[in-house]
Symmetry: C2
Subunit: 375 residues, 2 copies
């Protein structure tokens, strides 16, 4: 196991009165203020928007998917072309997942054994075998700042399966660590264990014993109830070391972000803001708005009159609805800009509230606001 | 007939050694250096790109389509929302066509008499009746800087039809002038007459007698051969007054732009750069490139290594091909930016060559370059 170059990567908690934390994550591609929301660029692009637009929104780190890039265009091509940062022209931080979540989402088409997972490509049905070693090798070729261990992501309610899977996830975490060769990437370990606090605690104990520079909570936001998710998150602050970043994978509603920060989480990713945008829904601090709704046809107001994003500064709901009805691509672009901005801005405000020691009050007010139906 | 406010709109030819002209068109929304290429924003958006991106490209005027906006979202909505500039957040110049070309493109579903044209909407089959008066009324509600007379656009090879249609086009031009009420919009007259020089000359004589602030050549680039088009353009400089802008409608290949400027044309519009982009084709000074081609899969070079556009400054052919193969919307955005930039840049270079009195040499070199197959 090679150690990480600590001059290139570090994490510092600068405020934590109670569980919510404000921190700074240093990476070879810039500093990330936490808590942070990472937009998802599955296929080496955040759908419908340019890196310049992401930069203008204030995004400092984004996530890309190893499974998708491994299949297309292939990690070798991206490596040849200078790595993922250069390939997609994003010179701030990138995190890649390990492919685990996607591979396990393929359901019946995949076969698991202790060595790894054999699965069929969703693109052309071709057979592939993913192992912890390959997941690391691919992620080293992609060259993200933060990479993830290859884990197994079971049905969160299936105790027996979670017990079995956890053994593999732990074994694979050790193999990922051994397989790692680059010192300029931070490999985060992933805690699994479904909705079972005992398993989660056991997983945290094992994974943290491997001394990763950061820890992720995997296997949530995959079908469990909100209260089941929160019950697990309640334990996180006790199970994980205070001086390492904590990343809750796949979580992205404003309410969930607030509740997870309340419980000591620092990092998040979710496809929600861009997926909603392609389905005509704008995310605001006062709920979701379906811009397709005829009520917006004559509305000269922006999505959110107090929002500082490019879309809200310049375009009315009536114009956005027109673009949607006319099936213009610009609709997805402008609504994606707004939706990502909203989550990035939410995290900025949450961070400020932590620094100003008023997170609870801010969270209370935001939660009240978001409970009101928007239209 | 109301006169135009000449403080808001004027045209000055600043160089014309021979037929090619460099000029400045002043509009209420800024100066336009001619010759100029106008990208098309059919439905109040240039497909797949934001106004900020258009501005960065250096676009100073764009075209939008009255027919489409009349049907959806409707001119009243756009007027209510402050006019087309405000609606689509474009504060530089806009030209709207009259809807004539689109209505006549509908073919068998439309009925023409001297009063106007009855047609079925391509969206929902609803019946509409367009007249010169309505075309002006709609364009006044949209509020573009330059608006167009309502003309009839026949098969360019049909002499009999062209003779009949020309009478209506001339009658309608007079009715458009009478119907005009705003003084802050320049109404351009349109010359028709198919591929028949006699009819074209006759049309030019009549239309220029009405003293419009600018003149368009309609009914070309609609099925005639290149030499038939050029034969008509050969006459333009003699038929049209030197002190008014001349606009060749619907023309947009680099070769055609060069040949038309050579014959004294100042303004152009075409959907080609954005349509090509949505079909994976990049327009360059050395021909068209199909970016879907597998030869680009590993290519670290941009579309055009000498191009200064956002796309060529930051993205490789390999990345663009990946976006295309992965069906990512960003492909259309990035290639559209490049394609529009190329035509805008071509016009900037053409203009410079006119000012430096070396248009013929520039045109010769560009034409040679463009004849070479690009890939």
């Amino acid at each position: 196991m090679l150690s990480l170059n600590n001059q290139q990567f570090s994490f510092q908690v600068i405020s934590n009165k109670g569980k919510p934390r404000a921190g700074i994550l240093k990476t070879p591609h810039g500093d990330v203020q936490t808590p942070v929301f990472m937009p998802v660029g599955t296929q080496a692009t955040v759908k419908a928007i340019t890196p310049a637009q992401l930069d203008e929104i204030g995004v400092t780190i984004l996530l890309s998917n190893t499974y998708h890039l491994y299949l297309r265009p292939g990690a070798d091509i991206i490596s040849e072309l200078g790595g993922l940062h250069h390939f997609m022209h994003w010179d701030k931080a990138i995190l890649t997942d390990s492919g685990g979540f996607q591979v396990f989402s393929l359901g019946e088409t995949r076969k698991i054994n202790n060595d790894g997972v054999t699965f069929k490509s969703h693109l052309d049905g071709s057979l592939h075998h993913f192992t912890p070693e390959l997941a690391i090798q691919v992620q080293e070729k992609l060259g993200a700042d933060i990479i993830m261990t290859f884990d197994e992501c079971p049905d969160p309610h299936d105790l027996k399966y979670n017990m079995d899977a956890l053994k593999r996830t732990h074994l694979w975490a050790e193999r990922c660590l051994k397989a790692k060769t680059r010192t300029d990437q931070a490999l985060f370990g992933i805690i699994q264990g479904g909705i079972f606090p005992d398993l989660r605690e056991q997983s945290a104990e094992f994974i943290t014993s491997l001394n990763f520079p950061g820890y992720a909570i995997g296997g949530l936001s995959v079908g469990e109830t909100k209260s089941e998710m929160l019950a697990i998150l309640d334990g996180v602050d006790g199970w994980l070391p205070a001086d390492k970043p904590r990343y809750l994978m796949g979580v992205g509603t404003p309410q969930d972000l607030i509740e997870a920060v309340r419980r000591g989480i620092d990092m998040f990713d979710c496809v929600l803001p861009t997926r909603l945008a392609r389905h005509q829904a704008a995310q605001t601090f006062f709920g979701r708005i379906n811009l397709m709704n005829a009520v917006h046809a004559h509305d000269p107001n922006p999505i959110d009159i107090s929002c500082q994003c490019y879309t809200c500064q310049h375009f009315s709901r009536a114009y956005l609805r027109h673009l949607i009805v006319a099936k213009e691509m610009l609709a997805a672009t402008l609504i994606s800009i707004h939706n990502i901005f909203t989550l990035v801005e939410l995290m900025r405000r949450i961070r400020r509230s932590i620094l100003e020691n008023c997170f609870d009050q801010y969270a209370f007010e935001m939660t009240k606001l978001m409970e009101k139906p928007a239209d």
